[in-house]
């Protein structure tokens, strides 16, 4: 880790000014940033500590939705009563993310900025080729150890998986990222790698996440997050699904359905084809399993990650059927 200077921002404006300087980065919980600095992936010149800024850690939940300040801690949001009752998938995604220690430190804004766990990305000394770190240098992962890599949204330049859980739930329920005055839907906030995998988020220099807004909905209220992995705790998803459903008055016919995938794609992955195939249909196991296969339409494996293409639809189907049982 290189020496860096540290300053504590007194206001959002001051933070943004400082962060615009070359080599400056915002510091919130630090759980990703310090880790990446130790790996030699990021070498900040200046860390601008925003954790003391006032008014950015509130959690407000009403009829229209929830607004979560960027500095709210993952653990607080996971355990918030109204989040649990109105957005169970959000709470469950957070509970199943990271470890208790990390959830107590990491912030919601920082969580959205979490970077991939691709081992080639994280080891510059041994694997200098990484288009995400050094545009144009190549991809060490393609042809290498790919068990944890993405099968959806990949490009010839990058197959790194997006590792987070929270954003999967957010993209399912059309959440919006507040960048000061500007607002960006979460689905647009995360960028596909394409030919520029170094650019991961639709955030410009001089901008900062201030809040996340999740619209309230019936499907968000009846939702769940199912995360499958070899280890029961503290592991990234082999495949996960955030699912929400709203039934017609008959309690069986699907009026609205939300499906998003984690652990399988280069960004939080909304599976609209699977949603559309079931809307207006009666929730019934065979139909759910058939529609769930659409969630991985277009998937491409790189050998060792082939199992994700088999696994992800089963996770989606189980999650939808589970919500049906509680109808």
């Amino acid at each position: 880790m290189k020496d860096f200077s540290y300053l504590r921002a007194a206001s959002v404006d001051a933070a943004l000014q400082a962060a615009a300087l070359p080599g400056a980065m915002l510091l919130a919980g630090g759980t990703t940033l310090i880790d990446l600095a130790k790996c030699g992936v990021t070498e900040p010149e200046t860390l601008v500590d925003i954790t003391h800024l006032k008014g950015l850690n509130s959690i407000e939940v009403g009829e229209r939705g929830a607004t979560i300040g960027a500095l709210a801690r993952m653990g607080h949001v996971a355990d918030h009563g109204d989040i649990k009752s109105r957005f169970p998938a959000v709470s469950e995604a957070l509970w199943q993310a990271a470890s208790a220690q990390i959830r107590n430190m990491a912030t919601i804004g920082g969580n959205l900025m979490q970077r991939t766990r691709c081992p080639y990305f994280r080891d510059p000394a041994n694997f200098p080729a990484c288009n995400k770190r050094e545009p144009g240098s190549g991809c060490s992962a393609i042809g290498g150890v790919t068990r944890g890599h993405a099968v959806l949204g990949t490009s010839n330049a990058c197959i790194a998986m997006y590792p987070g859980d929270l954003a999967v739930a957010l993209v399912a329920f059309d959440a919006v990222v507040h960048l000061g005055l500007r607002q960006v839907p979460v689905d647009d906030f995360f960028l596909l790698p394409g030919t520029t995998p170094n650019r991961e988020h639709a955030i410009e220099p001089g901008e900062m996440i201030t809040a996340i807004e999740i619209p309230g909905s019936a499907s968000a209220r009846r939702s769940t997050y199912l995360k499958i992995r070899d280890r029961q705790s503290y592991e990234f998803a082999a495949a996960s699904a955030a699912v929400g459903v709203e039934f017609e008055a008959d309690g069986r016919t699907i009026r609205d359905l939300r499906v998003a995938l984690g652990g399988v794609a280069t960004k939080p992955w909304r599976a609209r084809a699977a949603e559309d195939a079931l809307k207006g249909k009666v929730l019934e196991p065979d139909a759910v399993r058939a529609a769930s296969l659409l969630a991985v339409e277009g998937a491409v494996d790189h050998g060792a990650n082939h199992y994700k293409i088999e696994l992800a639809p089963r996770v989606v189907a189980r999650a939808i059927l589970k919500l049906g049982e509680t109808a």
Binding site: N126, G143, R231, Q232, S233, L311
Partner: protein, 765 residues
Amino acid sequence: MTVHNIRHGDASDGALSEAVGGRLSRVDGPAKITGAAKYAVEQRLEGLAYAVLVESTIASGKVRAIDTTAAEAAPGVLQVLTPDTIISLRTASDWFGTPPPDKPYCPLARDITFSGQHVAAVVAETFEQAVAAAALVKVSYDETPSIVDLSDAKAGDGIPIDAMTKEWGDAQAAFASAPVRICAAYNTPREYQAPMEPHGLIARWEDDQLTVWEPSQWLDGMARTYAEWFGVPFENVRLVSPYIGGGFGSKALALSHGAVAACAARMLGRPVRLVMTRPQTFTGYGGRAATRQTVAIGADANGKIQSIVHRGVNETSIDGMWVEPLGSVTSIMYATPTFSSKQNVVRVNSVVPGAMRAPGENPSAFGIESAIDELAYEVGIDPLEIRLRNYAEQDPHAKKAWSTRQLREAFATGAERFGWFRRTPEPRSMRDGNQLIGWGVAAGTYPVRRAYGEAIVRILADGSVEVESSSIDMGQGTYTILAQTAAETVGVRADDVVVKLGDSRFPRAGVTGGSRLAGVMTGAVYKAATSALDQLVGLAISDPRSPFHALQANTLVVANGRIGSPRGDGPDVSIAELLKSVGRDHIEATGDTMPANSTSDDRYKNYTTIAMALPHTEGDYSRHSWCAHFIEVRVDEDFGTVRVSRVVSALDSGRLYNPKLAESQWKGGIIMGIGQALLEEGIMDRRHGRIVNNNLADYLVPTNADIPDIEVISVGIPDLHSSVLGGKGVGELAIVGVAPAIANAVFHATGKRIRDLPITLEKLI
């Protein structure tokens, strides 16, 4: 380091808990929990400098050049060590004490034989400066093709290790003519000890005296290596290692990073600290070697074994030799009229593998205990029943009686507690919703390794007792059981015993490995304490100033720190009062378990090599610990995820010196076995010959959420052929057999036989 009269246990720990066999809580626990325990690299020394290693990024080839210009110019840098600039050392002898070749030793490599090999080191005023400068060292290589692992086409069949061959009868012929035959290959991957405390040290030279603060499972063995490297007398090297944050076999030898730090300290004339990063702990020393075995069993229609043919292979490095004895359990677990086991080792571009909890027995049991389960299904016999039908009434290989073998009791007790007889035998016949339920059984064993130990016991003026030994406590409970041994033998409370360990200036001890330490050291402390007690009683009887002098007693009784006559009809004084009355400020006795005519050379050899360890089949008996694991798994039929939901294990470690601590070690072994079965695997990038999951986020070990309640039951009886006080090995036993019990349970749950560890979800969906 001293554990000063730390209060122990809760109120339920009565006086009995202080004797050998009592459930005394760990006396070092409070110091560790409160942070008062100072680990090796936490010493604060004047003028400490920090060293950071630079490692090879290729797996095979030569270092062409090392450009240190930028690193040397970086802030705070004191020196950059390369193969050209580091001082020359001498090659040290191996752990058998084999005289080394007379050639220099350089801990920094010019010839690269694995990725992650130390090629340079940077020493700076601060750790951060050293890290930053190490990244500026530019190493260029001439790369050559590497042999990645056992499956590499270039690896070949390897080198036959004739000493591993075990044969009786014509096993091949008996297998060929057997009515029932099964044959399969079982593989285990590279696994890593992953101790919580990474390897590291502080080295300080004062003239020709070297002090090394380093976590160590073998102070005297490591001190010998440092002394031989630097050509100084053994007595000039002091190893200090009061606490160890987990070793699991990986901290028994002085390693090349230690040599680098000691060289840097000598060259700089300052103490130097070097701690491996977590990724470096995956290549800086060896984990468990990857193994392959084929096990062929021929049997009659009743499942009675007629032949076992076993072939094993393990990885070793290009220029080092590691043999993981794969036939060790295969050859003793079951009675068979014919047997053949042979083993090869294959050289690959890896760091030389090393000892990891039950080296040999662990993978060996995965083979034979999976195979016997396959045989049970082949002949349609309950997996527990087939083990009893083939029960070995004596050691089938050594043809000697077991010293004790409570394995039948382990099977019976474990099965009863687990409810084994409610099991339906068909695979996929037990389920709970989406969860397929499977019950598996497997046995484990570990030999009783014996050696000699030495200790000092002092009775001090205040009546307290002090024990000194260069043995160590890496969490298994040495401080505690030696306090119990001294307390019971002398006749004081355990609270009044201070045990000092982890300093090579103390009376010597051999390696803490092979589950031998407790048996060795309780024996030595028992002898020293008995001798100290004899002196105390002798003084009390014979010294004219003693209040007991007039009594003309033959003996006296010491209990709870007080001395009295056996019939209680004379004076009753405290030990402190007696010592005061006879004008002594202490009594000291050295005790050892060495043969009476041992020379000082014998002693040196015993404590600094493993050459004098006693074979477990020495004399008339074959000595082993035994266990039976009964395990329930739940496998999600859609996702392939395996969760262990119940474990009942019955274990025979002979007499337990402290059941609470033994149970804790057994549970630790079972947990490690669950990790081995389901999670742990070094994953290789075959293009680079490099393990890519070299950190604790990607190399998965179990979390609390992965571990159910574990019930462990002791079925052992005192075994005086195995140790002075009747105990057998504890630490390594319980991991042996866990992985096959889980694999067998997974087969019962799913009908799929997984013969390659770990059992990850993609193997089951």
